[in-house]
C-alpha cells in the first residue's frame, strides 16, 4: 500500500474513532513541527502552533475527504493558517534562512551560492508578495512535490507548476542588476 493509501485507511479509522488519530499524530508530528519551526524559528512557539494544528485537524477530521493525496499536505495547510494567525498583527515578517536551505532555489535560478549571490537572492525574495513567497517556500524550502504544494495552497497541480515558474522568472528579473 502507498503512503497516501495507507494515510486514507488511517484517516477513515480516525474518523470512526478519534482515539485512532494518535497514529497520524505520531506519524506527522515531526514533519509539522519542522514545517512550522522553519517559519516561527522559536521552539516553544512552534510547539504551541503544532499542538494547535493537530487539534484543529482532529476537529475538522469528520469533514476531511481522502483523495489519495498525502494527509501531510492537509496538515500543512492548517499549519500555514496557524502561522498566519500568529503573524497577523505584524505588517512585515523577518524570515531567517541558511545558505544550505536556499541552495535548491539558488541552483534553480542559476546562482552558484556565493555570498553576494545569496545577499541578492534575499533582496529579491523580499520583493515577492505573500502568495509568491508562499509558493517558493513550499516548493524549495520545504521541498514539497508540486502535487502537495497544490493541495496546501488549494489549486490544481498544473496551476502550481505554472505559478512557480512565473515566480522564478520574476526572481531572475529582480536578480539581473545583481549578476
Amino acid at each position: 500500500m502507498t503512503k497516501a493509501g495507507d494515510d486514507d485507511a488511517l484517516v477513515r479509522a480516525a474518523q470512526a474513532d478519534p482515539r485512532r488519530f494518535g497514529i497520524l499524530y505520531e506519524r506527522y508530528f515531526n514533519d509539522v513541527f519542522r514545517f512550522l519551526h522553519r517559519r516561527a524559528r522559536h521552539r516553544e512557539i512552534t510547539a504551541d502552533l503544532t499542538q494547535q494544528t493537530f487539534l484543529k485537524a482532529m476537529l475538522a477530521l469528520p469533514r476531511y475527504q481522502p483523495r489519495g493525496l498525502p494527509f501531510r499536505a492537509w496538515l500543512y495547510r492548517i499549519a500555514l493558517n496557524e502561522i498566519r494567525m500568529y503573524w497577523r498583527r505584524r505588517s512585515e515578517v523577518t524570515v531567517d534562512l541558511h545558505a544550505l536551505e536556499v541552495m535548491p532555489l539558488a541552483e534553480e535560478i542559476g546562482l552558484d551560492g556565493r555570498e553576494e549571490d545569496l545577499a541578492g537572492l534575499a533582496r529579491a525574495l523580499s520583493r515577492l508578495n505573500d502568495a509568491q513567497s508562499r509558493l517558493i517556500e513550499l516548493r524549495y524550502f520545504d521541498g514539497l512535490p508540486f502535487a502537495e504544494v497544490a493541495q496546501v495552497i488549494g489549486i490544481g497541480e498544473d496551476a502550481a507548476k505554472m505559478r512557480t515558474h512565473r515566480v522564478l522568472a520574476t526572481l531572475r528579473q529582480y536578480l539581473v542588476p545583481h549578476k
Partner: protein, 86 residues
C-alpha cells in the same frame, strides 16, 4: 503579509527527532480535543427547555417587580423636599 528574508551562511542548527519528541504530547491533545468538542456541542441556555423556562420565569418576575414598584410610586408620590408646588 510582507516577508523580509535574511540568509545566513552555513547550515541551520538541525532539530533532532529527540528534541522534537520532547514537545509531543498525545494526552494533552486528546484532553484539548474533548474540551473543545464539549464547548462546540454545548447547547446555548435558550435552547435547553428547562433553562429556557427558568430564564422566562426570571424575566417575568423582573417585569412584575418593576411594574409593581411603578404602581407604588404612582399611588404614593414622593413629596418634593423644597415644598414647592408644581
Amino acid at each position: 503579509m510582507k516577508r523580509h528574508y535574511r540568509i545566513a551562511p552555513g547550515a541551520p542548527q538541525p532539530l533532532t527527532d529527540a528534541e522534537i519528541a520532547a514537545h509531543r504530547d498525545g494526552k494533552r491533545l486528546m484532553f484539548n480535543y474533548h474540551r473543545a468538542l464539549h464547548r462546540m456541542h454545548r447547547r446555548p441556555l435558550y435552547r435547553d427547555p428547562k433553562s429556557f423556562l427558568a430564564l422566562l420565569l426570571i424575566v417575568l418576575l423582573a417585569y412584575l417587580l418593576s411594574e409593581s414598584a411603578q404602581k407604588k410610586r404612582e399611588e404614593h408620590p414622593i413629596p418634593d423636599p423644597t415644598g414647592q408646588q408644581p
